[in-house]
Structures are given as structure tokens and as C-alpha cells.
């Protein structure tokens, strides 16, 4: 008995690992089991055989197109958020007065959440909102631009909540890159563009991929804002709305689980594709603490 315990302890197994049990149990019971249950449920539709729920989803254009609707919203939003964050974070990575204030202000939209942002967007971008009013009195437009209750309303809400998130992440990755590397390149005569795309960008690539994935996940699960500032019956009927409707309006839990599974698969496919592209670039130390 003792020898078995010693042998296990040699491999790093002892009673201290029991501390992992509560957390593992919680994740198993509350995450893995429901997921497996839903996965099983998706193969037990009331009609149409084992794959009936999936067939129902993919043959009905109204349901199937939610995948494209979601991707059309979340991919450009995630891309814009990351693409805009890189130059801005690159400029602002040094120390300057008011940096802490600026990063603090940027956290606000993250904590506001989508519901409040939606309410604000409805007021601000609406036909009689301040933005249309300003543009009209400046003589840029004649009639109010329609920016809410359509694609753009949801897109703006994704940018408002997603951009600060992407920016703060990229800023923290950038400050993890050793600044002496760039100074060395400058000493060797590199201008700012070669310095950026030959030194900083390759070191930033892993961080960029992670940021893109996290921003994409955030945008992909868009739900309240798609209903509140979007056009939930048409152009912004995203896949989470389809899943919600199946579960709580037609009480078809099998279809709802199938949609949730499809949603997870599509999301993981995009994440895997991004991480696959990332593995083509430099992987290794960023020279700093990163």
C-alpha cells in the first residue's frame, strides 16, 4: 500500500489533487453533462429520425441562413475591432499622461454590457438622435440616416463593446514585447514600417490570433443587441435567436440543442482556422514577459 502511494507520488499524484475535485465536479456537472445531454437530445427529435433536427435546420432556409447572418455580423466586427486596435495600441503603447484614465474609460463599454449599449444606441443613432441631428445641421445629409433596427445598429453595438476589449488585450500583448528589440532594429537603420512589420508584427501574431478569437466569440454570441437594436425577424436574425426561438417559443428542445451544437461547431471551426493560420507564423518567446 505504502509503495503504491509512493509510486503514485513520484508521478505527481497525491492527496493534494483532491483539491481539484470540487471545481472539476462543477464543470463536469454544469458544463460537460448538460452539453452531452443537449448533444444527445439533438439526435432524438420528435420526428424525422436520428438526424431529423439537423435536417430540419439545414433544409429550412430561414434557419440555415442564420449561420451566414451571424458570420456576416461577427467576422467583420471582430476584424474591424482587431484591425483598428493594432495601430492605435502601437501608437499608445508608450507611457503618456492620461493613459490610465483612457484605459479606464475604455473599460466602461465592457461593463455596460450589450443591453445598455442597445438602449443608448437606440437613443443616440435613432432618426431624431444626436448623431442624425448633428449631421443634418452640418448639412452633410438631408434626411435622417437609418442606423438602428437594422444590420448597422447591431454592428455598432458589436464595435462599441468589442473594440475596447480588443484594444486592451492588444495593448497588454504589445507591452509584453521587449522594447529593446525595436530599438535594436532602429539602431540598425530600420524605418518605422520595417520595424513594425518585420519585428513587432511577427512577435504580436500569436496575440493577434488570440484577440481575434476572443473578440469573435464575443461577437458570435450576439443575442440581446440583435433583438433590441437589430431587425430580429430579418437581416439580423442571428443563430442564437434561432436557438432561443426553437427552445422557448416552439418548445422544440431537440431542434434548439441541434442549433446550439451547430453554433458551437461553426464557432470552433473559425477559431481553429484562425489558430491554424497563426501556427504558420513565428511561435516562441516575445522577448518580454509575455
Amino acid at each position: 500500500m505504502t509503495s503504491l502511494r509512493h509510486r503514485l507520488a513520484d508521478r505527481g499524484i497525491d492527496r493534494q489533487l483532491l483539491l481539484l475535485i470540487p471545481a472539476s465536479l462543477c464543470v463536469l456537472i454544469l458544463f460537460v453533462y448538460p452539453f452531452a445531454y443537449g448533444f444527445g437530445l439533438s439526435f432524438q427529435p420528435s420526428h424525422g429520425g436520428v438526424l431529423g433536427a439537423y435536417k430540419e435546420f439545414f433544409t429550412d432556409a430561414y434557419q440555415r441562413d442564420t449561420i451566414w447572418t451571424t458570420l456576416k455580423l461577427s467576422l467583420p466586427a471582430a476584424f474591424l475591432n482587431v484591425a483598428a486596435s493594432v495601430p492605435i495600441a502601437y501608437r499608445l503603447r508608450g507611457r503618456f499622461r492620461g493613459k490610465r484614465l483612457m484605459t479606464t474609460l475604455l473599460v466602461i463599454p465592457i461593463t455596460l454590457g450589450t443591453v445598455l449599449t442597445a438602449e443608448g444606441l437606440l437613443n443616440f443613432l435613432g432618426p431624431t438622435g444626436w448623431l442624425n441631428r448633428t449631421l443634418m445641421s452640418a448639412g452633410i445629409i438631408d434626411a435622417p440616416v437609418r442606423l438602428t433596427n437594422n444590420y448597422w445598429g447591431v454592428f455598432f453595438s458589436l464595435v462599441i463593446t468589442g473594440f475596447p476589449f480588443a484594444f486592451l488585450l492588444i495593448l497588454s500583448y504589445l507591452s509584453g514585447i521587449d522594447p529593446t528589440l525595436e530599438r535594436a532594429a532602429a539602431t540598425l537603420g530600420a524605418g518605422w514600417w520595417p520595424r513594425f512589420h518585420r519585428v513587432t508584427l511577427p512577435l504580436l501574431a500569436p496575440g493577434l490570433a488570440t484577440t481575434f478569437c476572443l473578440t469573435f466569440v464575443l461577437a458570435f454570441s450576439v443575442f440581446p443587441s440583435a433583438i433590441l437594436v437589430g431587425d430580429p425577424a430579418g437581416t439580423t436574425r442571428v443563430i442564437s435567436i434561432a436557438a432561443y426561438h426553437a427552445a422557448y417559443e416552439s418548445y422544440d428542445y431537440s431542434l434548439a440543442s441541434a442549433i446550439a451544437v451547430v453554433m458551437g461547431v461553426v464557432e470552433l471551426a473559425v477559431v481553429a482556422a484562425v489558430l491554424g493560420v497563426r501556427s504558420l507564423f513565428y511561435t516562441g518567446s516575445t522577448g518580454g514577459k509575455g
Partner: protein
């Protein structure tokens, strides 16, 4: 280090003032903040306006919408539920998450990477994808529709979040201190309570506040599992918004302002303990 860094920093600041690219960067940052100010400002202004239709500002000002929102939406109950749910989630996820984070940060054992992936997945997946099956399971066992269901659902992303936030804090504690405590005859629980817990207080505070902010702001999971008497503020706000038309717009705005204020108070408290970048990542700022 500082002696060399100062002139370099001065030079960089000078370049920012000069180049056109900097104007573009500052321009877009200013634009973003203007939009943000417009979004928040229009909600605040609307909540104080008596009538506001086709003008720049409301015709007259009032605070009646706050009173109305308070009574109509039984905000006190909603706030109590929100606080109860948030505190329960924080308490449980810290109690469960910190020991797990300790083992994951300190020990090497077979299956460690699989376990890590298991703890990462709930953060990586959109809440709706696991929220719907989870709500189905919770309804099956009669847990959803009450506060228990809401708390259980919110634990799913919170426990992994505590683990991820605590890991760097635990790595900072010198293992020699624990070994010394063991040499002096302390048992595991004594090491935890008397040695590690006091040293980890900053980390635990940071993790708790982050979980608190996320739980108060979490919409999807609460929405899927809450019953009529277990709605948190954000879910109640959603219901009043989607039922707009029968409610005065301004009283919805008043409720939104109350929610914003609550979030801002939490945020101000949070930022006393954590760096802004830590709210989204766990990378430390350069101390310089």
C-alpha cells in the same frame, strides 16, 4: 534604465505630436469616445427629460421617471436579487476555484493539460451554446426558475475565470514559505488558511471583483434560467426594453441609468484593485 529611457520617451512623444498618422490615431480614439459619450449621455438626458421628441434637448426636466421605474419595475426586489446572486456566485466560485487554481499552478500531474482545457472551454464557448442545454437540464431537475438555477448557471463561466485570474497570483507566492510552514508542522488546511490565504488576499479580491462585474453584467445565462422572481437587473432591463411601447421610454432609460450607476460603482471599486488591462487579460503591465 530610467536615465536612458527618459530621452527616448521624450523623442517618441515629440514624434506623436508631429506625424499625420498620430492625428489619425487620436482622431479615431476621439471619435470612439464621442460616440460613447453620445450613447451614455443620451440615455442619461432622456431619463431626466419630461418630454423629448424632435429637439436637441428635452423641453423640461424631471426626476419622476426614477420614482416611476422604482415602483413599476419593483426595482428594490430586483436589486436585492442581483446582489444576492452576485455574492453567492462570487463566494462559491472563489471557494471552489482557488484550491483548484493552486493545484493547477503548482503541481505537475498526468492529465493536467486536459483539465486545463476543460476549464478553458466554458470561457471560449458562447454562453447561449451551453446555456440552452444547461437550462433544459436545470428545468428537468426543477432548479431553473429559481435563484438556485441562476446561481448554478453563472458558476459555469465564473469558476474557470477565478482559476485563470488566480493562477498568476499563486505563482508569485514563494513555495519555500509553504515548505517552511510544513517543516513547522502545519497541515495542508493550516497551510491554506494561515499561510496562503493571507498572502493571496489581493488576488482573491481581484478575482472576486472581476467575477462580480461579470455576473452582474451576464445576460444570456441569467436570462435563460431566471424565473419571474429571480431576475437580475440586466434581465429585468431587457424585458422592459423588449416590451417597450407599453412603458414610457424615459422610465426604461431611468432604469438603464440605475444599472449604469451600479456598474460604475463596481468598476471604480474594481479599478482600485486591478489594472484595466487585467479586466480582459491576465497579462501584467510593464512596471518600467
Amino acid at each position: 534604465m530610467t536615465a536612458i529611457a527618459v530621452p527616448a520617451r521624450e523623442a517618441r512623444r515629440f514624434r506623436i505630436a508631429a506625424s499625420p498618422g498620430a492625428w489619425l490615431v487620436w482622431g479615431s480614439v476621439t471619435f470612439f469616445f464621442l460616440m460613447l459619450a453620445g450613447i451614455i449621455g443620451s440615455v442619461v438626458v432622456s431619463s431626466f427629460g419630461r418630454r423629448w421628441f424632435d429637439t436637441w434637448l428635452p423641453e423640461s426636466w424631471t426626476t419622476q421617471w426614477y420614482g416611476q421605474a422604482w415602483h413599476e419595475f419593483t426595482l428594490l426586489d430586483v436589486l436585492i436579487v442581483t446582489v444576492e446572486v452576485a455574492l453567492l456566485v462570487v463566494g462559491i466560485s472563489v471557494l471552489v476555484g482557488v484550491p483548484a487554481a493552486y493545484v493547477l499552478a503548482r503541481r505537475a500531474f498526468p492529465g493536467r493539460r486536459v483539465l486545463y482545457l476543460l476549464f478553458l472551454l466554458p470561457i471560449l464557448m458562447p454562453p447561449i451554446t451551453y446555456g440552452i442545454p444547461l437550462a433544459t437540464v436545470l428545468y428537468k431537475y426543477g432548479l431553473a426558475g429559481h435563484m438556485a438555477g441562476v446561481v448554478l448557471a453563472n458558476l459555469v463561466p465564473s469558476i474557470p475565470f477565478v482559476i485563470l485570474t488566480m493562477t498568476p497570483f499563486i505563482e508569485q507566492v514563494d513555495p519555500a514559505i509553504e515548505r517552511a510552514a510544513r517543516m513547522c508542522g502545519a497541515r495542508t488546511w493550516q497551510v491554506f488558511l494561515r499561510i496562503l490565504a493571507p498572502l493571496l488576499v489581493p488576488g482573491i479580491l481581484a478575482a472576486s471583483i472581476l467575477v462580480l462585474v461579470r455576473t452582474v453584467g451576464m445576460f444570456e445565462l441569467t436570462f435563460l434560467t431566471a424565473g419571474p422572481d429571480s431576475q437580475t437587473l440586466v434581465v429585468a432591463l431587457y424585458y422592459t426594453m423588449s416590451a417597450a411601447g407599453i412603458r414610457a421610454q424615459q422610465s426604461v432609460d431611468a432604469m438603464a441609468v440605475i444599472y449604469t450607476c451600479m456598474m460604475l460603482v463596481l468598476l471604480v471599486i474594481a479599478l482600485r484593485f486591478v489594472n484595466p488591462t487585467q479586466l480582459v487579460a491576465r497579462v501584467k503591465e510593464d512596471p518600467q
